[in-house]
Amino acid sequence: MSGRGSKDLVVDACVAARSGGDEAVYPASKYCRDFLLGLKDFGHGMVLNPSLKQEWNNHQSRFARMWRASMVATKRVRFVEDLLIAQLRDKIAKIAQKEGDKDAMLKDCHLIEAASQADRSVISVDERARTLFVSVASELHAVRQTLWVNPEIPGENPGDWLRSGAQYETERLLGY
């Protein structure tokens, strides 16, 4: 479990996949690795629930597996139960413009749900999902209040954000 002044973050399995192996594309892969190392170095933790764990098991690179093992060994992984917020999923189904958008959001909805059990922060490289969530954020409180960081975009200064305590910064919220 992360200590005082640190945060428990939901790290999407896509970050684990793109940190090495077949799905790695340089330099994006390096950004993902640096982010994971920074997350550990600056004392933050990760949140895992059974669904996320399964996704990590299916997609993680060798590097991500080593990183995860070191996070578990140093008690930096917070295990929570799968949480399904039916109200959130119903609303997404209702307000999604297209069937594809609905499916994409429901596929990644578990990230928002897991984040709601921790420090409401999601780390993901899935820009399509972010764009879709931003489009519905004004109507969905849980989405609006979720912070989203893409470690592959240097402009978001993900390293600095981690270093300064992974603060709950308003401008990083999906509802900003």
Binding site: A24, V25, Y26, K30, F63, M66, A69, A73, T74
Partner: protein
């Protein structure tokens, strides 16, 4: 005719069940202030090179070689099979002439009793035992030279003092009866005597002539307090496997086998197996074979006396029983000859006996390093107490995995991480494992080294691949 190794006694367990649960060292090499490590059934010492891991155990090993010596080597044998120094200045601070240096070693038992030995060193005058302190729940005894006879007697249990005194009185009484020395009168004196590396109370007769001391015994009768006796047995019982376990030999010298193994254990491994074979203790031999097989090292081992003084070790090269090809241990990889003594030691050790292994992982493939954790766990289940000094994150991961699987109790494991300050002094960070095998904020860095190495390799390799890809694209564009 060939001879089998002799066996003095069956190693059924060392006297007393009061286990050593902690070691403290001070003033020794980089261990400047009171360095303490708690011992559990499996204690792992880790840390960078020259961080002080070996130094923590060396004072106890020097005590072992002092007690094991066939002659009295003085207060501390600084050069022997377990630890080799040529001068005291190599492990205590350098001194100018006449200056006094002190170092100490303390041992804590499960009962919370404690024995502390303080040594002093003066250049060109050697090491002396300065004091021995026994701290029990109800009292503290300090043995040091210079105490009066009455003060020493106070340190001896009254019934023991009376028994020793009456025995001495009987002796001097006989001398009087026999009128051997009619002009002498007899008295007695309690004193503190050095017994190898310990100080203990002792009683001696004194003869007076014209009220002046005329004669005294050069060999006072010592009384060793039970706690000191216990420490002696525990220290002598340490089975030591150093980091350098020698080159594999075509034949090993026949050794005697007892509950304790003076010197280093690798010299005994062949004779121990030979003894088990001759006594038809096949479960022990089978256990060695199974552990070696689990490490993927060999699938059969046997010892054979080649002469009255030598035993050779043979191992198999094939997994298949029908295809067993027995070869001398010197003809297979170093992993076998380096690991075999570790496995034999762990199986030969009695419950409660300490096995100290430096670098158990040497010459082992990472898969075998991981599997070695199971060998340790099996020994721990039999009550063996293991102290292992390691650089293997894979072995540590194996231990963590067994704990998470429930095959090894988290409360049986203790981790100590050694590191040095910028001034070169050792600091120790200790950690327990949780039931999931995690160790929290223990500052171990070797897993981090692997992680960062992986990251650096990927950075370099992927960058290179990208450059190559771009170069190919540019070439293709040029051609088109």
């Amino acid at each position: 005719m060939t001879s089998e190794p002799s066996r003095a006694t069956v190693p059924k367990g060392l006297p007393g069940d009061d286990q050593i649960t902690g070691i403290s060292v001070s003033g020794y090499k980089s261990l400047d202030s009171d360095a303490f490590i708690e011992l559990k059934p499996l204690t792992l010492l880790a840390g960078a090179n020259s961080s002080g891991k070996s130094s923590m155990m060396q004072p106890l090993l020097m005590m072992k070689q002092t007690l094991d010596a066939s002659f009295d080597p003085g207060a501390l044998a600084i050069s022997g099979p377990n630890v080799k120094f040529t001068s005291v200045g190599q492990f205590v601070p350098r001194l100018s002439q006449g200056e006094l240096s002190r170092f100490s070693v303390g041992v804590t038992f499960a009962s919370d009793s404690r024995v502390m030995l303080k040594f002093t060193y003066r250049r060109n005058r050697g090491i002396k035992v300065d004091s021995l302190t026994c701290r029990m729940s109800d009292r503290e005894l300090v043995f040091q030279s210079g105490l009066s006879s009455a003060a020493v007697r106070e340190l001896v249990p009254i019934d023991v003092a009376e028994e020793y005194e009456s025995s001495l009185d009987a002796f001097t009484g006989r001398l009087k009866e026999e009128n051997a020395f009619p002009e002498w009168s007899f008295g007695k004196e309690w004193t503190v005597k050095r017994e190898r590396c310990f100080l203990v109370p002792a009683i001696k007769p004194i003869a007076f002539l014209n009220e002046q001391p005329a004669w005294t015994s050069a060999t006072p009768r010592p009384y060793t307090p039970p706690i000191v006796e216990q420490l002696k047995e525990k220290v002598r019982g340490i089975i030591h496997l150093p980091g350098l376990r020698g080159n594999p030999e075509r034949a090993y010298p026949v050794t005697g086998i007892g509950p304790s193994f003076p010197g280093v254990f690798q010299d005994y491994a062949a004779s121990v197996i030979s003894l088990w074979q001759s006594e038809k203790r096949w479960e022990k031999v089978k256990s060695v074979t199974e552990h070696l097989a689990a490490l993927d090292l060999t699938w059969g081992v046997r010892a054979r006396s080649t002469s009255d003084t030598q035993v050779e070790l043979k191992v198999t090269r094939s997994k298949l029983r029908a295809d067993r090809n027995w070869v001398n241990v010197a003809d297979v990889g170093l992993g076998v000859s380096q690991t075999l003594p570790v496995i034999v030691a762990l199986i030969a050790a009695a419950s409660g006996q300490i096995v100290f292994i430096e670098q158990p992982e040497i010459h082992l493939h990472p898969r075998a390093q991981f599997a070695l954790a199971k060998v340790f766990a099996d020994a721990v289940k039999r009550g063996v107490r293991i102290i292992a000094e390691t650089h293997s994150s894979t072995l540590l991961l194996g231990v963590q995995t067994l704990v998470a699987q429930g095959a090894l109790s988290a409360s049986d494991v203790k981790l100590h991480w050694f590191h040095r300050t910028e001034h070169g002094n050792t600091r120790i960070s200790s950690a327990d494992l949780s039931s999931s095998g995690s160790f929290g904020d223990w500052p171990q860095d070797f897993a981090d080294v692997a992680l960062r190495s992986e990251s650096q390799y990927l950075d370099a390799a992927e960058s290179k691949l990208l450059d190559e890809s771009r170069a190919e694209d540019a070439k293709a564009e040029e051609e088109s």
